[in-house]
Amino acid sequence: MTMTDVKNVIINIIKDIAPDEDVSTLDENVSLREQIDLDSMDFLDIVMELRKRHKIEVPQEDYPKLATLKSCVDYLFPKFSVS
């Protein structure tokens, strides 16, 4: 899986969790919460979907690493590589 693939996986999850939002113009270096309406429960859902769809675990202490699209990809890419 390439980094672009990982990015698309994350975007597709966010699309499902925040269906009212336009995710096509997300700036990958800016906090997701600053750009779209995401709360703490939504991040729990993102973690849950990663677990259900891709068997990837994100420990609670790593949640801050999901802050931006770029940080998500940087953090999750190695996990996808071994999954």
Partner: protein
């Protein structure tokens, strides 16, 4: 009439509803008059084809997609009905004291849909409970549908549901009326809702009782209340929420008034888990009329609970014949032939379907009763086509449920003193 001042007289000033055959009062009423069914064939998980009633209102008319995803179908039905009721009552929550609005919704059950779905999903995830959704608890707490209304409308007054089995819809209305009379709130959003056909367990449960209709090839004729060839219940979803307020408040703001709730009663059979009790049904109707200060000769329409089960239809028919057998002007109808059994919504929804009678003086018919069961013979029953009468002043609405819960609500045409 009982002696009440304007602060204790409670009137209906708004109605929001969704039924399998209509998404507002006008559509619903027209469908009832035209004999239009809302029932359809559906695939029930693990069980195959069954008949059910589903609503096709626009879920995102008043709700964001994300809120719908977070919440439940019951919550979505509630949000739709509550918003429609407020608009109908010409009320904007932004201009009201949000702390003085109460939300009281009758339910048959809540949480089955979400729990079943989660367990199904759990099995797709090798029973890994770490995949159980964090939304499970807020979705399944019993106040959830009413709470979703307060979240949607930013109402800060009290909210809760009233668990009343299939009497829930009437009980929601009664609760709203009582809270207004106690002065707890200025407005009550009160009624009943149901998401029941979204869960296979309700179908399987009625099937196990031998009370589920089996006729998916002809869904619109599946439920046949009072018919000797009846085959049982058809499960439906729906909702009806009323804006209730005191007559004084309604007059002060020049509100349109659909009718006044003049009587109600609720009691318990204390005799069986599922079978009805004719004597307690009689008692419930008589005590509701006594509270209203009227007798059976004053009732123009009785809307039967009439679920299309043998035990239920026969018990209620006996009760109605006992109470109204000598009341010449009382007409009797039922609603489940059109829409199936909308469970927690039934009482509120079926009452709503009869309220336009105050304005058109028509008694809507019950449908799908082609060969009436001799044990359900009722004089002045209205079947198949509407009946025009000179004037309809008072409607009595029956709603009964499991564990022997009975409820009656009586609404009167409003006329200025």
């Amino acid at each position: 009439m009982q002696n009440l001042n304007k602060n204790n007289r409670i009137v209906i000033t708004g109605i929001g509803l969704t039924a399998p055959n209509g998404n507002n009062l006008k559509e619903f009423r027209n469908a009832l008059l035209e004999g239009k069914s809302g029932l359809e064939k559906t695939e029930v998980r693990y069980m195959g084809e069954k008949t059910a009633g589903f609503c096709d209102f626009d879920e995102i008319k008043y709700q964001k997609k994300k809120s719908r995803r977070r919440g439940t179908r019951a919550g979505s039905i509630s949000i739709y009905c509550a918003n429609e009721a407020l608009i109908d009552a010409d009320l904007n929550v932004e201009n009201l004291d949000r702390d003085r609005i109460g939300v009281y919704l009758g339910i048959t059950e809540h949480g089955n849909v979400e729990t079943e779905e989660e367990i199904f999903q759990l099995h797709q995830q090798d029973l890994n409970t770490k995949t159980w959704t964090p939304h499970h608890n807020p979705r399944t707490v019993a106040n959830s549908p009413a709470g979703e209304v307060t979240l949607n409308l930013k109402i800060t007054g009290p909210h809760y549901t009233i668990g009343g089995a299939c009497a829930g819809g009437n009980l929601g209305i009664i609760q709203g009326l009582q809270m207004l009379r106690l002065g707890e709130v200025d407005y009550a959003l009160a009624g009943g809702i149901s998401e029941s056909p979204q869960t296979f367990g309700i179908f399987a449960g009625f099937d196990a009782q031998g009370a589920l209709s089996h006729n998916p090839e002809n869904p619109q004729a599946s439920i046949r209340p009072l018919d000797k060839d009846r085959s049982g219940i058809v499960i439906s979803e729906g909702g009806a929420i009323y804006v209730l307020e005191t007559l004084e408040n309604a007059n002060k703001r020049g509100a349109k008034i659909y009718g006044e709730i003049i009587g109600y009663h609720s009691n318990s059979d204390a005799s069986d888990y599922v079978n009805p009790n004719t004597e307690r049904q009689i008692e419930c109707m008589e005590k509701a009329m006594k509270r209203a200060g009227i007798d059976s000769n004053d009732i123009d329409i009785v809307n039967m609970h009439a679920t299309g089960t043998g035990a239920g239809d026969i018990s209620e028919s006996k009760a109605i014949n006992k109470v109204f057998g000598n009341s010449i002007k009382t007409h009797v109808n039922f609603t489940k032939g059109h829409i199936g059994h909308s469970m927690g919504a039934a009482g509120a929804l079926e009452l709503a379907g009869n309220i336009p009678s105050f304005f058109d003086n028509l008694v809507h018919p019950g449908i799908n009763c082609k060969n009436i069961d001799p044990e359900c013979e009722i004089s002045n029953i209205v079947l198949d086509t509407p009946k025009q009468v000179d004037q309809i002043d008072i409607v009595l609405n029956n709603s009964f449920g499991m564990l022997g819960i009975n409820s009656v609500v009586i609404v009167k045409r409003y006329t200025k003193d």
